[in-house]
Symmetry: C2
Subunit: 169 residues, 2 copies
DNA sequence: CACAGATTGACAGCATACTTACAATATGGA
DNA sequence: TCCATATTGTAAGTATGCTGTCAATCTGTG
């Protein structure tokens, strides 16, 4: 009896989207860290490295828009990547407020080497589902994230960032 | 041309489940905080309160299993809930290592009052999808989180926790 | 040109989320 | 009973993720 009531009450948490999103994020990070353990790379650090490789000479503010990542936090992330010598920060001559970001040779090498582990991690996250359901979930999630973009504190602004970058590149 | 290449490369991040889970979690938290702003309650604090109400006299370790929440972090969460006087910690006589958790009168009142805001938040997260797609996404996510339970650093152990609790209640 | 307003990176502070380590306490087997 | 082992809460350390604030710098308008 007790259990029946208890279970019912906890459903106020278990069956809600917010709870499931949090759990899934925890699981995803856990799997990512595990697969990439020999490189000591976090999901966020990986995303930052890919974005810097894709947009060499990008500044921190635009980088934050490109990966929908908070600007304050990003400072620390870049610091860590710099400490590991995967990234270089060079002062800009055009705008002395900004520092431009570049992948080092060692950062590019790491990115190349870590790719298989990242792919394994991404595959493992969806593994338990049937292939058709994986596609379905990804389609729905992509749609939902896109439609909810503005609800996020740091909306994705990939195109804007590219536009501005165009000038100095 | 540059843009085409750039966009292609960033797809190594944008189209991956890990990235989408992170973004969706950010969006979900953002919406939750916004809807519950007048109560200054976070998603995790809410889950903890519901679990304590459901299992009065639970200890911190079992609470962490019931909401799949890291034990170390939970200490700080409880501290904050205690500071706001929503929760009481009483030493156990049976096991002097543990402290038993109870909702205060004010905590129970808050939980009752905040419920509509929480419901609004949960609804908003899925709002952009068609009703049928909302159900589909929830079904797939529930399944995936359940099947990936062991991959999480803090797997959900709802029943175990209940069992142990049964003795002292 | 001057100056109001915006932008940039840095910092401080709060809240998850995790790891390892530790002291106090409990438990089960010799 | 004694003692190896496990459990509990706590703390320190790292890493996101967010809010503010601030000084330096840039930009657009008058």
């Amino acid at each position: 009896m007790r259990n029946r009531i208890s279970t019912l009450n906890m459903d106020a948490v278990y069956t809600k989207p917010g709870y499931l999103f949090r759990r899934m994020q925890q699981i995803a990070v856990s799997i990512f860290i595990e697969e990439c353990s020999e490189y000591e790379l976090t999901p966020v650090q990986f995303a930052a490295l890919v974005a810097i490789q894709t947009h060499p000479g990008i500044d921190a503010t635009r980088l934050s828009a490109v990966i929908a990542f908070d600007r304050s936090t990003l400072g620390n992330v870049i610091e860590r990547l710099e400490a590991k010598q995967y990234v270089e920060r060079k002062p800009s001559f055009e705008d002395r407020r900004t520092k431009l970001l570049y992948l080092t040779r060692s950062g590019a090498a790491l990115l190349r080497d870590v790719m298989p582990a990242v792919d394994r991690a991404q595959a493992r996250m969806l593994q338990p589902l049937k292939p058709a359901d994986r596609k379905l979930l990804m389609a729905l999630l992509t749609q939902l994230v896109d439609l909810n973009n503005e609800a996020s504190r740091v909306p994705l602004r990939a195109e804007d960032a590219l536009e501005h970058l165009g000038k100095s590149n």
